[in-house]
Symmetry: C2
Subunit: 443 residues, 2 copies
């Protein structure tokens, strides 16, 4: 390297972007590994697509808020390109392009970063990981049922218990709008209805009248249905009555009923499944089941896993109709939630054991011991320099190792060692031969 | 969605970019999971950094080939930004920025995509995943030893046996160049020497004379050392003799000796460690140990894991000196190698079992059965529609499921099922209760 003096460059990240240090990255990786394991156990297969695509592909129908937020530029070959802002548009492009090879039903998951140049705010970044899973190519509500099972299993696998899915079906609302002759205003009505929790029925009514052009009576009828509360059976009964004579509405009711009944029969506690006909999820491409997921103890954090059924994923790229259903785990929200619930340990090492290094001459013995622990499934690190014990233990504390193993030359010869329990601040003398089994017990 | 007719957009990816379909993505994810598991077992912690950085940060010293290849543009906030082209520069920036919080030794791994706008060619893409691991903040050769152990363990964990590490130490060459008074020409000499395998000694000698300005005698002396062959002990002995009187050269010899002896004593077969004083690895920032890794059966594929020791990672961003040592797993090469060696199954499902769906009325029973298999650690998928058995089995074959479970209403009542072994084209009748244990045996 050239030795000339040069101005130092200030190390910094771009506004809205963040580094992940080990303390945050370890639980993020663990969370992603859990999602992956659950998806795979249901037969979902991973895919990946490029971070960069032709802007034409990503812009799609155009005119969306996300279009303005895209990181878009001209590449070396004068192509108009952009960084993906979600994983749904790439899936649509991917499915259209490879459909013959993939066949249906096609079940995939995709965990990858996306980029949006939106105004950075508390907890929102310009780069974040999305974690989507979908079943494409079937209209069967059985697929909707499986998506709900996967959501339930992901949260259970994370050790969460106090959570519930809020479930709706867009056909219920469509049935009502049909009956009220408001089908053409559905997008504006959905937008208004989405705010019900936040602004209350009065404001929603006003917005429906002003923005969607409904009458006060029409708005009231929509609000009446949206405010139906009760057990799942009660809600279904009341909604079914309101939708009498609407074929699509009754289909929606029947799908909701099948979904909840089947899930309950296959082992999901009914208290974790709540039919709520008020949820609309603004996105107007949902056409059937809609999911949201909430933590009982952290309602303010919002839905940590949302999704729904759509009629035609790939309509921009293919004449072939591709219906599907899927959801997206909000990794960042879920990580924040697990942290608030005290389910994340503040450590910066993935290995529980630090082996202190005293005698350079016995280096191979320390390394062999570490290998024997790893073979027993226990992560172990050998400190790289024979520094003072105090310094090595300080390092162990700072990084959050749970155990330190201390062995000098005499102990090696005697076949014994000292095992320090760093959190409990206790220690025990045991033989080196016993160490792997003892640590396997403790870890 | 608007129903107007519109022109379809042709689904396609950018030149030099690729989609990963399940058949390729499954083994890629498995490979990454193995790397992650090994890194973690040695106490390496994961980090992540943004895909986009200030161009100033990434350009670093400037003038490199990679600078021209960067995807660089002006963002919404008029900032000059670029997509990272490797993980080393971001690590340097990251370490400088967070050093106080991280402390040393700092052991990290980082698996993430990088982007280079180079001319696409067979097997080289503009987007690819790098997989780096480093120990930063220690000059101890013990860290160099650990990096070699990690390389060895990653390949062993992948089920590979016929491989070896080629190891050199830059100090050996530096010692020789010192003795020959060629220290100032080292970069040009390294570049020439790197081609020894490809072009032979004659051409290398010519390049040294013409490009590095050496005499024929000097070039011969360099080549004489580079061509030393033999057992590790023989090579060390001959090199040590050639470097008599050079302190740095003898340090290099001693480090190589300690590395090989310690690794052998801690259980790595010596045949997997080959000291080779010809390898230079063009990058002139290496200052000590250098690693390359080859598969005996696929020498042409090149090194599948390479790296080395460097003196000062963060010199562009910080006054604090940050020595370190690390390596990078060539995931794409390794994946190609595993494929050529027949170690990758051509399947597109991560779950071994397909449960055929016959009786819609018993859906909850099929789903409960799938749950009980998953609880036993066996991935299982329920076909989403009650189609003809032939169609469901065709789907199972196409995706590479190993087993199909077939149960009708009567079988449910009798508590029995048919388990088809799809690869062997055999089947057996067993009770539903026995199924999880039987499949756990088979998987």
């Amino acid at each position: 390297m050239t030795k000339e003096k040069r101005q130092l460059i200030t190390p910094r990240t771009l506004k809205g972007f963040q580094d992940f240090l080990p303390e945050m990255m370890l639980p993020r990786e663990n969370l992603m590994a859990t999602c992956r394991q659950v998806f795979r156990s249901f037969g979902f297969a991973p895919i990946d697509t490029p971070a960069l695509e032709y802007s034409e592909i990503l812009l799609g129908k155009g005119g969306n808020e996300t279009d303005k937020q895209m990181f878009r530029f001209t590449d070396h070959g004068d192509r108009d390109v952009a960084m993906r802002f979600d994983l749904t548009v790439p899936l649509a492009r991917f499915a259209s392009q490879h459909l013959n090879e993939l066949g249906t039903p096609f079940k995939r998951y995709h965990m990858a970063p996306v980029w949006r140049g939106e105004k950075p705010q508390m907890g929102r970044f310009r780069e974040f990981i999305q974690c989507d899973f979908d079943i494409v190519g079937t209209t069967s509500v059985n697929a909707d049922i499986e998506i709900a099972m996967v959501i339930h299993e992901v949260l259970s696998a994370l050790g969460l218990e106090a959570f519930y899915l809020r479930i709706n079906n867009r056909k219920v609302l469509n049935g009502l709008l049909d009956k009220l002759e408001l089908a053409d205003q559905s997008a504006a009505i959905l937008r208004a209805l989405d705010k019900l929790d936040k602004v209350g029925p009065q404001a929603v009514q006003t917005e429906m009248i002003e923005q969607a052009g409904t009458t006060a009576q029409q708005a009231d009828a929509v609000l009446q249905m949206a405010q139906i509360k009760g057990t799942n059976d009660e809600v279904l009964k009341q909604v079914s009555e309101l939708l009498e004579g609407s074929e699509i509405g009754q289909t929606g009711v029947a799908e909701l009923e099948k979904l909840v009944k089947t899930l309950t029969k296959s082992g999901i506690p009914e208290k974790r499944l709540r039919i709520d006909v008020s949820i609309a999820r603004g996105l107007d491409y949902y056409t059937g089941t809609i999911y949201e997921t909430f933590l009982e103890d952290l309602p303010k954090i919002g839905s940590i896993c949302s999704g729904g059924r759509y009629d035609n994923l790939a309509e921009l790229y293919s004449k072939q109709s591709l219906p599907g259903v899927g959801a997206s785990v909000g990794l960042d929200r879920l990580l924040a939630a697990l942290q608030q619930l005290g389910k994340i340990e503040p450590v910066t090492t993935p290995a529980p054991v630090l082996i202190a290094l005293f005698e350079e001459d016995r280096l191979a013995d320390y390394l062999s011991l570490a290998n024997s622990l790893r073979k027993a499934g226990i992560g172990a690190e050998v400190y790289p320099e024979p520094k003072r014990l105090g310094q090595q233990l300080k390092y162990a504390d700072r990084r959050g190792f749970r155990f330190a193993v201390i062995i000098g030359s005499q102990e090696f010869d005697a076949g014994t060692c000292q095992l320090k329990h760093l959190q409990e601040k206790t220690s025990e003398e045991i033989t080196i031969a016993e160490l792997p089994m003892r640590l396997a017990e403790l870890c």
